[in-house]
Amino acid sequence: MSLILRDATYRYAGVGHPALTDISLEIVPGSVLAVVGANEAGKSTLCLLAAGLAPTTIGGELRGTVEIDGLATIGARPPELAQRCGILFQNAETQLSGTAATVWEEVAFGPRNLSLPLDEVVERTEAALSALGVEELAPRDPGRLSGGQAQLVALAAVLAMRPAYLVLDEPTSQLDPQGTQLVGSALQRLAQESGAGLLVVEHKTDLLASIAEECVVLADGKIVARGSAGDVLADPRLDEWGVEPPSTARIERAARSAGVQEPMLSALATRP
C-alpha cells in the first residue's frame, strides 16, 4: 500500500507545455518524502497531483498514473480521495471553511461532511486537536488566530479526515519564526507518531533535514535529483537548482572555504 506516481505528466487546462514531466515517486505509510525546488519548479502542482485534486477537481490532462492505495485518482470521487490523502496549502486562511464559529467546529467540518455518527465526529475532532497539542484553541474563533495557530488548525482539520497520506505544500511559508517552529515541531511529531505517509514541499531545508528520510529536487517540472534527505540536502548543486542548503551545509561550506581542517569539519557536521 502506498501513494504512487508513475511516469506522471500533467498539463493545466488551456496551457501548452506540461507543468510536470515523467514524475515517478512512491510514498509509503510512516515515511516522509521532502520535495525541494525553485519557484515555478512544479512543486505545488505535484502536491495537487499527488492528492488527486489535479485533474479531478481543477481539470487539466494527466498522462501516466497516480494511485493512492490502489485507487487511481483519475475518475475517483473527491470525497473518496479526501479520506485517503489530505492536503495542506500555504495559506491557512483559505483552507478554513469560513463557516465555523469555533476551532472545534472547524476541525469537525470534514468528518461531518462524511455523515459520520456524532460520537465519531467528536472522537476524531478531539483526537486531531490533541495530536497537534492545540486543544486549548478549541473554543476560539478561527478568524482570530495567529498565522501559526491557523495553520495548525488547518492541519488538524485535515488530520480529522484520517487520511493515510498527507501532502503539505509549503506549510510554513507564510509563518514567522515562531509560527514555523510551532508547525515544524507538530510535523516532526506527526512524522514520528501518526504512521501517515508525508510528502512535504518546503523551502526551509533545515526543517526538511530534521523530518525527512528521502528527498527529491524538482526543476522545470522534472525530478533532477533524488536520494536520502541527508545526501540530497548536502548536494553542492542545490544552489544551481535554486534551493538554499540547510544551515549545517552552509556553515560547513563556509568553514571549508575558511580553511578549517577535516576533524573540525566532521564535528561541525554532526552538530544539530
Binding site: 485534486l53 470521487r77 471553511s97 463557516t99 465555523a100 469537525a108 467540518f109 461532511n113 488547518a154
Partner: protein, 269 residues
C-alpha cells in the same frame, strides 16, 4: 476519564442552545416568522399590513429585550425612507390634492399618504430582519437548516457570506493602505475618493477570486461534495407548538397574499 460506553457529545461551547423569551424559539421558526412579517408588510395594502406587522415586531422586541440594539437598523433605512418620502410626496403621479405650493414644488396629500405607508413597509422589513439577526446566530440557523435537509451548498453560502464580510472589509483596508503607500490619494474630496476606489476594486476582486479557487480545493479535500446529510452537532428545541406556529404563519401569509392580489382586502384601511 470518560467511561468507554458514554456517548460523546460536542463541548458546551459548540452551538450553545439559546434560552429566553423569543430567543429560545427554534431558529427556523424565527426565520419563518421574519419572512412572513416581511411579506405581509409588503403585500397587504394600505396602513393595516405594515402597522399590524410593526405591532407584532414591537411586542417581540420588548419580549426579547432588544431595546436600543434596534436603533442601527432603523438608521440604516433613513437614506431609503427619506428618498421615498421626498419622491412620493412631491412627484406622486396623478395626485391633485395639493397641500401647499413651494415655488415649482407641489406636495400632495395622496403622495404623502403613499410615502408614509411605503416608509412603514420599509421599517417593518428592516425590523423583521433586525429581530431575526439579533435573536439568532447565523451558525444556529445554518445548523438547524442543515438538520432539516437543506442542501450543503445553500447552507455553506449563508454561513460563509456572514463570516466572510469582515474579511473582505479587512482586505479592502489592507489594499487601500498599500495604494496610499504608493501615493494614491484616497481621502479628501468625493471625486478623489471615487477615483481611489477604482484601483482598489481590481485587486480586491481578483484576490477574492483567487481565494475562492483555493477554498474550493480545500473544501474538496475535506469531502464537502460527499453525498448524504451532514452530521448534526446540536439539535435545537422544536416541538408540535412550534411546528404549528410555522405552518400557521406560512398559511396565513399565503392567504393574505392571495386575498390581497385578488383585491379582497380592499376594505382594510
Amino acid at each position: 476519564m470518560q467511561p468507554s460506553d458514554a456517548r460523546r457529545t460536542p463541548p458546551d461551547f459548540v452551538q450553545p442552545i439559546p434560552t429566553g423569551p423569543y430567543r429560545g424559539l427554534n431558529p427556523t421558526t424565527k426565520l419563518v416568522i421574519a419572512v412572513a412579517e416581511a411579506l405581509v408588510a409588503f403585500t397587504v395594502r394600505g396602513w393595516t399590513g405594515p402597522l399590524a406587522v410593526l405591532l407584532v415586531l414591537a411586542t417581540t422586541a420588548v419580549a426579547a429585550r432588544l431595546g436600543r440594539r434596534l436603533v442601527p437598523f432603523v438608521i440604516a433605512t433613513v437614506p431609503l425612507t427619506a428618498s421615498i418620502l421626498l419622491v412620493n410626496t412631491f412627484l406622486f403621479p396623478g395626485a391633485t390634492d395639493v397641500i401647499l405650493r413651494i415655488g415649482p414644488f407641489t406636495p400632495t396629500w395622496s403622495g404623502l399618504e403613499a410615502a408614509l405607508q411605503a416608509t412603514l413597509r420599509v421599517m417593518a422589513f428592516a425590523m423583521s430582519v433586525a429581530v431575526l439577526v439579533l435573536t439568532t446566530r447565523p451558525d444556529e440557523l445554518v445548523a438547524d437548516l442543515e438538520r432539516r435537509g437543506a442542501p450543503r451548498g445553500v447552507t455553506f453560502v449563508i454561513g460563509a457570506t456572514v463570516r466572510t464580510i469582515p474579511r473582505v472589509v479587512q482586505r479592502a483596508g489592507e489594499i487601500t493602505d498599500a495604494q496610499r503607500a504608493r501615493g494614491l490619494d484616497t481621502q479628501g474630496r468625493l471625486w478623489r475618493r471615487v477615483r481611489g476606489v477604482l484601483p482598489l476594486a481590481a485587486p480586491l476582486i481578483f484576490g477574492s477570486l483567487n481565494e475562492v479557487e483555493e477554498l474550493t480545493m480545500a473544501l474538496e479535500a475535506r469531502a464537502f461534495s460527499a453525498a448524504g446529510r451532514r452530521t448534526t452537532l446540536r439539535v435545537f428545541p422544536d416541538g408540535t407548538g412550534q411546528r404549528q406556529l410555522r405552518w400557521a404563519a406560512a398559511l396565513l401569509t399565503a392567504a393574505l397574499i392571495v386575498l390581497s392580489i385578488a383585491g379582497r382586502l380592499a376594505f382594510l384601511p
